[in-house]
Amino acid sequence: AQTVTQSQPEMSVQEAETVTLSCTYDTSESDYYLFWYKQPPSRQMILVIRQEAYKQQNATENRFSVNFQKAAKSFSLKISDSQLGDAAMYFCAYRSDFTETSGSRLTFGEGTQLTVNP
C-alpha cells in the first residue's frame, strides 16, 4: 500500500516571502500522479498543482511550483510571493493508476497548516 508523509504539521511565512512544504511518499509503482490540495476553513478541497510521475519536468502553476524527485520519492511544494489568501491546510496526495476495485483513489498525507503573516 502507498503511504504519504508530511513531516511539517505547521509552517509560517511572511507575506511576499517564499515557503516550501515537504512531502515524501512510498510506493512500488512506476506510474502514478501526485497532487497538492489546499483546504481553507470552508473545508473545500482545492487542487493547487499536479505532477505526473512519468514527466521529469517539474509542474508550475503561477506562484506554485513543485520539486519532484522520483528516485527519492519526494514531492515538495514551493509557494512564491506568499499572499494572505494562501493561508490554509495543505495536503499532499498520491494517486495510483486506475484499478477496477479502487478506481483511482487518492491517498493523503496528514497535512501542513500554513500561516501567512502580514
Binding site: 478541497m45 495536503f91 496526495a93 486506475f98 476495485t101 479502487s102 483511482s104 487518492l106 497535512g111
Partner: protein
C-alpha cells in the same frame, strides 16, 4: 456548472442513532468517492462507485457503515448506531471517469458530530 454538493452541511447526533449523509456529484460524472477526515488529519478513502456499483467496500471502517448510489447520480453514506469515534468530516468527490488522469472534484463535506 454546479459542483459537487453534500447535505447536510453539519449534523449533530446522539450516540447510537443512525445518520444518512448525501452526495450529489457533478452531472455526468460516473465515478464517485467517499473520504473521511478526522480532526487535524488527512483524508482516508472509504469507498468508490463506478456508476451504481461499488467494486470494493474494504475501505469502510466497520459493518455499521454502508453506502449506495442511484445510477450515476446521488449517493448516500449511512452510519448505523453511531459512535463518538465516527465524528469527522465526510467528503465526497466525483470525476468524469475513474481514470487516473481525470481530476476528482470535491464537495464541501458534512461535519458529523456524535455526542
Amino acid at each position: 456548472g454546479a459542483g459537487v454538493s453534500q447535505s447536510p452541511s453539519n449534523k449533530v447526533t446522539e450516540k447510537g442513532k443512525d445518520v444518512e449523509l448525501r452526495c450529489d456529484p457533478i452531472s455526468g460524472h460516473t465515478a464517485l468517492y467517499w473520504y473521511r477526515q478526522r480532526l487535524g488529519q488527512g483524508l482516508e478513502f472509504l469507498i468508490y462507485f463506478q456508476g451504481n456499483s461499488a467494486p470494493d467496500k474494504s475501505g469502510l471502517p466497520s459493518d455499521r457503515f454502508s453506502a449506495e448510489r442511484t445510477g450515476e447520480s446521488v449517493s448516500t453514506l449511512t452510519i448505523q448506531r453511531t459512535q463518538q469515534e465516527d465524528s469527522a468530516v465526510y467528503l465526497c468527490a466525483s470525476s468524469l471517469v475513474p481514470d487516473s488522469s481525470y481530476e476528482q472534484y470535491f464537495g464541501p463535506g458534512t461535519r458529523l458530530t456524535v455526542t
